[in-house]
Every structure is written in C-alpha cells, then in structure tokens.
Symmetry: C2
Subunit: 452 residues, 2 copies
C-alpha cells in the first residue's frame, strides 16, 4: 500500500506555497470592491483542480460570484461523493488588530495566518490535495467525485441555491462531504451533526431631515441615536433572552439525552472565560455554554453606527443611525418568519419622532443529521485511524446555510468533516489554521474516501 | 455724516471675495490632520486685521491652535471693547450631504454656503470690516478696541482659558462683544442673555479580547454592542428625562416671568416640526420647545460606533463599542460634577462581562447676563436703527464656553450680538450665512460702536 504519509511529507512545502498563493487573493465576497478578486480566486481554484487531475472543470458565472464545478467519474458501481466548500472569505476589519496583513499569509509557530486560512480555503484545499495525491500515486480514485465550490458562502449563498435546483442531475451524489467545521480541541476530533440557521437584517432609524446643532435644538427634538439604542435594547430582556414576541416558537426544549451529549464536549467554562479575557460569560439562564451555542437561537447586533465618529467632539444631534443584526436559528424556526417578527417588533417599538426602516437579508434554515447514519461511523473510523481518538458527535453553533439545501435537494446525507479549531479566530483578526490539522486532514480525507 | 451704507455697498464684492478666501481654509480644529490649515486661517486673519488698520497684531502660539490678538487704542477717556470670535470650524461629515463642497464657498440665493460661513468666520469678519470702514472713512474709532480670536472654540477653548488668566491686563476691557449667536428669524433681531454650559465624555465598552464568530460563540458570550445599547438606553427615561442620579441638581425651575419671555419668541412648534421633516418633536414633558432648549439641561449621544459597518453582513460578536456624549448645562450645574455623576452611572450600570471606560473631555459653565444692563439697551438701539425692529432678549440653547470665563476673569459684561439664523445648518451639512444679515450686521456694529 502506498504511504501517503511519505507523499504528503515530501510535498508539504509545495502544498503550503500553493495555499499561500490562494490565500493572498482577497476574495471578500461582501465587498463589491473585491468582485474581481473573488473571480481570480475562483480561477485559481479551477486551475488547481485541473492540475490535480480533476475533469470537466467549469467556472459557472452567476449574477453574483461564480461557482466552480469539477468531477472525476471513473469508478463505475462505486458511490459518488460531492465535495462542497467556499473560496470566499469574511471582511478583514478591524485591520489594525492583525499582527500580519490578512492577505500576506505567514507561518508562525506551525500556524498559517491569513484571512481564509481555516474558513474555508485552507480546509477545502485539503480535498484538492488529497485527491491529487491518490490520482498521482494510484492513478485512480476509489469513488466518483464531484466538486461544487461557491464564492458566496459568507453572504448567504444567494446564487448557489438556484444553481442546485437547476442542476440536481449534474450534482447528484450519494453523499455530500464538507470541511468547514471544527475539532473540539487539538487532538480531539469531532463530527458536526447539527448547524444553526441564519437570518439577517439591517435597521435604519431616521429623525429630522438633517443633523442638528445640539445647542440650538438639544432637548427639543428626537435624536436618531437615542431612538436606535432604545430599539436595540428592547430586543433582549435583562436575562439575555430575546424579547421579540414568538421568537422561541419552534425551538425544541433540550432532552436529558441531548444535555448529556453536550456535556461530553467537556467545556471548562472558567477556562473558556479566561481564554477570551472576559470578566464573565453571558447567555440565557438555565443553559450551559455548549447548550447555548449548540441548541439555542440568538439575536446578535453585529455592527452599529451613527453620528460623529471622528477625533474629538462634535455637538450634533444625528438624524440617522444604523444597525446590522443576525440571528442563529434552531429546530423548526423559519428564517422568514423570524425576520418578519423582528421587523414587527422594531416598527411597533419606534420611539416618538423616529422613522424605522428594516431591510431583510439572508435566510438559511437549521440542519441536523441522525447520529446513527453509517457514513458518520465511517468518517469516525477515518478520524480515529489518523488522530488515534474517536470523534465526538457535536452540534456546532455556526451556520452553513447551504447544508440544509444540499441535503434536501440532493436527498443525500451531508458529512461535516471539519479540521479547524475553535480558537482559530475565524471571522476575526488573526485568523489562522493549525498545520498539525493540515497534515492530519489530508490523511483523514484519503482514509475516509478509501473506506467508502 | 459718513454714509456707511454707500461704503459697504461699494465694497461688497471685495468683502465677499475676501471672506470666501478665508472660508476656503479648512480650519477644522477637532482633526489633527488640519492643524496646519488652522494655523493658516489664523495667519489669514492676522493679515486681514493689519490691512484693516489694527495695530499690535500678534499670533500667540499655544500647545494647541494659536490665538490672534490685535488692538487700536487711540480713544483716550473712551471705553474699551474687546471683540472675541473664533476662526476654527466644525468637522464636515457627512460630506456626501453637502450640495457644494464645504471649503469651496458658493453664493446661492443671496446665501453664502461654506463650513464656517455663519459659525463663526462670517460673523467675526463683520467686525473686521466694520472697523476697517470706520478707520478708512473717519480716520479713527469712537472707542478703544481689542481683538482676541481663538482657534479652539469648537473643541472647548482649552488654551484660551489659561491665556485669559495670564493676560488679564492686556485684555482688560469695559465690555466684551461677540457675534456668534442668532436672530430669531429674518428681520427679527435678538440679543442672547444666557448660554448653556457644555461638558463631554467618550465611553468605551470592551468585552472579549477579540471579536468572536457569532456561530461559534453566539448566545454564550457578552456582545459589546448589546452592553453599549443597554448602558446608553439607561441614560434617559421613556419621557425624555435624563435618568442619571442628581443630574437635575442646580437646575432652576422656570418662573412665570421666564415662561412669558420664552413665549415671546413666538415659536410655532408645528411649523418647526414640519421644517425639520420630523414626525414629532420630542423632549422633557411639561416644557415648550423654547423652554426645553433655552432653560433645561440635556444629555445627547453625538456619535456611536462598533462592529461591522461595511457593506453586507458580517457574523461577528464585536468586542469593542464606542459612544460620544455631550451635555448642555444650566443654572448652577457644574460640568465636573455632572461628568462624575454620569461616569458613576455608566460604571454602576455595566452589564455582566462588559468593561466600561469613560474619558472626560470638555467642561464649560453656563452663563447669564441681567437683561436690564445699559449696554444691552444700546445694543438693542443699534439693532432697531438698522433692522427697524426692537430685538428680543433670548436665551440660546448653545454654549460658548468661554463667555462665562470672559465675564468672570475680565469682570466685564459680555454682549452677544448675533447675526446668524437658526436655519443656517451650523454644525451640519450645507452651513450658510444669509447675506442680508451680512449687510445689516456691518451697519449694526458700526452703529453700536458709535453709541458707546
């Protein structure tokens, strides 16, 4: 049998150089100024898939960012695996908190630092290189493989959804394989069996037709910032529960069995608190951290601005204020229904003199897979063979909005085989990828595909 | 007798060209990038004073922006008038709302548009040109005159205060004359007899040591924006009253006489509401708009920011949030005491997991002058002679923090002889100065100085 360990060791420097090249392309899907960079990242991936030996490599334009397809269908009678990932990345601000520039990848202490290093270019790259290795060393693959990689995961996969609907036959598969989740901790693998849904909105509050002098008008007119903080503060009660009417409809209560499963993650809340340099954790009363994040819905303000933000003082009464809000959803919470409820709440709580506008954005449903599925056992065996530890079945608090759609539209189980770590600052400054999991990830993927 | 009306008509174009030149210098005192521009604006003024015939023109450097001094002391036995003003201006954002660039002065519909047009370069310029006119036409002045003009009025006059203390003899005067206030409306002059004090602070809320992913952590950790909105919302009750303990100590209750004086302003609240395009005015219950602005203290959020402000969505839990707050003070409210009370309130209301930092900034006391003072009658006579209408004695809601200091340190009455209008967008986009009051202002100042 081929020693893939040797192969990957021999090619490690070349692989990392290649990945760094990809990570240098600032494919920030949320910012239109980066549209061209996103396209370049797609082209880079397509070339990389071709070099790996994949066939029918195609870049599908969409009204947004393109989708990259490729396949290798030379294992008749064997199952077909569809590998999904995304080549777009989150915005980078606040830029001044990065120790090295986000698009100048740098290895420090066996960690690769760059925006996208772990979410998701780094993890997707493992699949490209695992398949390339098998094709080079054995000349063939043990299964049929398809790639479907998008550039809009960080902005809610708007165009992937219709693409899936329109290409069910082309994408048909027996399983979907995704690496965009996390181990529990170094050396402690995990398979994610549930993801929260996601919905988002932008809130604008307007008062007068112009900013006003706080001397001439102060005390006699509404202030858009006062109205905004009053509205936003009304969204939670003092115990951290969302105060929007009907928000918790469809949220399943935790069973004792689920609580036991969450407890297995063995999160030390005091250590977690210290590692985040927090005075205190905070969340819904009656739940542990793991339960709050894994099984409870949230409403978070992600950004907020209005009035004077420069140096010094400006004695102004701002006439406009803005907030960005996202919710994580669980159970049968429906994103459209939740957005409508929040919008109703905001409009009905508008203070005197404040005009409220709500723009609804993303809408992604929650997803779960039965922990008894045979594919999950095979994935667990592969992890165990490489890591020497049996993975835990977890529910991650994150959202990969398209997972539920893949599962529903292709009628296929989705295996979430992640190699990130919870401490890798995804969506934050100094995102990085531990190279130990780069090495083990390659081996685990090869092992998993051979078990099919 | 000399016809100053003819003189000013003859020189109008030249005067406006000169003023436009001064207004083109972006002397934004709050922004360090404009430090050099602020200095250029001081030099421009010094040259203008020299050309007008003033003597001993000096630019006094300070640790901040310079102070311009000049005098003309050739009226032995006559009183001395100290003219104060400021050549610095407010920041210009939001820039996109300006119809013409803020530092490219433009006359439209007999109004001069530019940052600083009315606050305060335009109004101060009237004094320079009024004195120049008298010196050219009569060769002398009916009183002794001193100029003391600063570049830090919009940032709380930090260095003027010690300058006044150190130069009491040099600045000694029988009256201080300032044009930095407003008429009631076109053709309806007013003399301001009271100004609110001003104090300011910046609030920072921090939670974790870094921004966190709202999937991985959402629901289990504090969010700096949630903490900020909760803190800011706690500063007012739902009736618009400031909810900080002891805030209203030292605020005099309105007498029936004062209420009658405010009613004289004849503010039509419905018209005001419409002109500001507001759904509703808003303020403390039990007071009219004029009373709220003229005689009641305020606490306003002037700016606020945190988290993601770019295009699209970013699923982040921000670890840092900021707000800028100013208060307008009345009666015997002491700025230091008020800032301490707010700081105590904010620190004691900090939600779980939120670290609160308060930076205290400006501190200026309220000011009032007795409406029976003989100088006010002379000023009223001058207005009446030019405008054909007797001015009303008003209390403006604004603050000129140095007025109280001038009055106290020089033991001199301060006459606030303003030529602005409440609709001139000071501190906001599209600031402008009605040229009708440019013309009448020149005449009123000449008339007033001749009555001394």
């Amino acid at each position: 049998m081929v020693s893939y360990a040797d192969y990957f060791a021999r090619n490690r420097d070349a692989h990392l150089s290649e990945l760094k090249e990809w990570l240098s392309i600032p494919s920030v899907s949320a910012e239109s100024a980066h549209k061209e960079d996103v396209r370049r990242a797609a082209e880079w991936l397509a070339e990389s898939l071709k070099r790996a030996g994949l066939e029918h490599v195609e870049i599908h334009p969409t009204a947004g960012h393109p989708i990259v397809y490729a396949d290798y269908l030379h294992a008749p009678g064997k199952p077909t695996v569809l590998i999904y990932g995304h080549y777009d990345v989150q915005p980078v601000d606040p830029l001044h908190l990065w120790q090295s520039p986000p698009f100048e990848p740098e290895i420090r202490d066996n960690k690769l630092y760059a925006r996208g290093a772990t979410d998701d270019k780094g993890q997707l790259f493992l699949h490209v290189k695992a398949l390339e290795a098998m094709l080079r060393e054995e000349g063939t693959l043990p299964v049929n493989v398809k790639f479907c990689v998008e550039g809009e995961e960080e902005i809610a996969s708007e165009h992937l959804h219709p693409f899936l609907e329109a290409n069910r036959d082309k994408l048909a598969a027996d399983a979907v394989l995704i690496s965009d989740t996390e181990l529990l901790a170094p050396g402690r693998p995990a398979i994610c069996t549930g993801l929260r849904g996601l919905c988002s909105l932008e809130l604008t509050v307007r008062t007068a037709s112009t900013d006003l002098h706080s001397g001439t008008y102060g005390g006699g007119v509404p202030n858009a910032l006062h109205a905004l903080v009053s509205l936003l503060d009304s969204l939670h009660d003092s115990e951290g529960r969302v105060a929007v009417e009907g928000f918790y409809d469809g949220v399943p209560e935790l069973t004792e069995e689920m609580r036991a499963e969450f407890a297995k993650k063995g999160i030390d809340e005091e250590k977690l608190r210290q590692s985040l340099e927090l005075d205190a954790l905070f969340g819904e009363a009656g739940y542990t951290f793991a339960e709050r994040v894994g099984a409870r819905p949230t409403l978070e303000i992600n950004g907020m601005y209005g009035g004077f933000q420069g140096e010094g003082t400006k004695t102004v009464i701002p006439c406009e204020a803005h907030a960005k809000i996202t919710c994580r959803l669980v159970g049968t919470q429906d994103p459209q229904d939740i957005l409508d409820k929040i919008e109703r709440h905001l409009c009905s709580h508008a203070p005197a003199g404040a005009k409220v506008t709500v723009a609804q954005r993303e809408k992604g449903r929650p997803y779960t897979i039965d922990t008894a599925h045979p594919l999950l056992r095979q994935a667990a065996d592969a992890y165990e063979a490489v890591y020497g530890a049996r993975p835990v079945f977890t529910r991650d608090g994150g959202s990969i909005p398209i997972v539920e759609a893949f599962s529903r539209l292709l009628s296929a189980p989705v295996v979430l085989m992640g190699f990130g770590l919870p401490t890798e600052n995804l969506h934050a400054p100094n995102e990085h990828f531990h190279l130990e999991n780069f090495d083990k990830g390659l081996m685990t993927i090869v092992d998993f595909l051979r078990r099919f």
